[in-house]
Subunit: 200 residues, 2 copies
């Protein structure tokens, strides 16, 4: 009894399975969905993958993703160039932009220091950051990394490089999330929020 | 303050969002993952979409998906051609093949009767099924549809067309799933399993 299989379908399922968070069952569902699309739709999907890959590269100033020479934030003349917000990856830029609080520029490291995972200082885009600090314009660098050990280590490493240049280095405040239930907040977060308590 | 956006990235995210079960956050994650792939990997992904779409079509005998003229099951000489198992869609063929119980051929309807959703008899591949029944070889047609109202309706509709040809029409047994907890089994399933009770 020969097994039923369709090579091109198997290949498509395999490709979907490689994506993060997509298991075999989801991959099968997605592959069948792609087959049910109109041919023009499937071509559009495939094109968008190639297109994004071809056109998107790092902004030559802040290392964020862009399809131009310089990203739209670095190109924006209304941005305050005296503040640079340093983040781990491009997703974080989008997250900060959603708050509409920060009219600064960004610098994307594309990673955090993590010697155990093989991520060393020379693999982060710190050289580009230090080059940007060489002109007088920058007054403050905000370390906006994850509240993890790696985020902490990266903040400290960078601040040691930047402080000697006479530039103010700040970090995001630790504290309880807005709307949080105190009984579910861990002790370290609580003690940090006590340290940083503000007057009402 | 200009908003940060990268057109090709937005397009890629949009494309992922159209897939079933993929929300905005997953689409963003997948798009960034695609960007992080090597160029050759991304090309392979895009190619597999186009390729599957170009090469896969319906088997001219059973309407299952195949990249050949006739699918590997219909082409298999060891299959019992006297039994045809009628299923809703290609995924069901794979499901039955996994049981390794059925050495028959299949027929894929690509849908179930559902007048409310606009699926009428002429939209199912019943014409091809009836043509297959015109030779003397077929002795039994198994209705292997979902246990839903639509599955039921399709089974009854087809059996009314097939019985007059003097061919045996059977259906999957209703009953409790293996390993099921009786207290969570609905009454209709329970009464059906009582009706079909077998001697030990």
């Amino acid at each position: 009894m020969a097994e039923y299989s369709v090579a091109s379908l198997e290949r498509l399922i395999e490709q979907f399975e490689r994506l993060p968070g997509i298991g075999h069952k989801s991959a099968v569902r997605l592959a069948y969905y792609v087959l049910s699309m109109k041919e023009s739709e499937a071509e559009k999907f495939a094109d968008s993958i190639i297109d994004a890959h071809k056109k998107i590269h790092y902004c030559k100033i802040c290392c964020n993703l862009t399809d131009k020479d310089v990203c739209s934030i670095c190109a924006d003349e209304n941005r305050d160039r005296s503040i640079i917000c340093v983040v781990q990856d491009p997703k974080d830029v989008t997250t900060f932009e959603r708050t509409k609080e920060l009219n600064a520029t960004y610098h994307v490291l594309h990673g955090l220091l993590s010697p155990l995972n093989g991520c060393t200082p020379d693999m982060l885009h710190t050289k580009e950051l230090l080059q940007r600090l060489n002109n007088d314009e920058v007054k403050e660098v905000i370390m906006a990394m994850d509240g993890t050990v790696e985020g902490e280590a990266t903040s400290i490493y960078l601040s040691k490089l930047i402080k000697p240049l006479g530039i103010k280095v700040t970090r995001l405040a630790y504290g309880i999330p807005v709307g949080a239930d105190l009984q579910y907040t861990d002790e370290i977060t609580l003690s940090r929020s006590l340290e940083l308590r503000t007057e009402i």
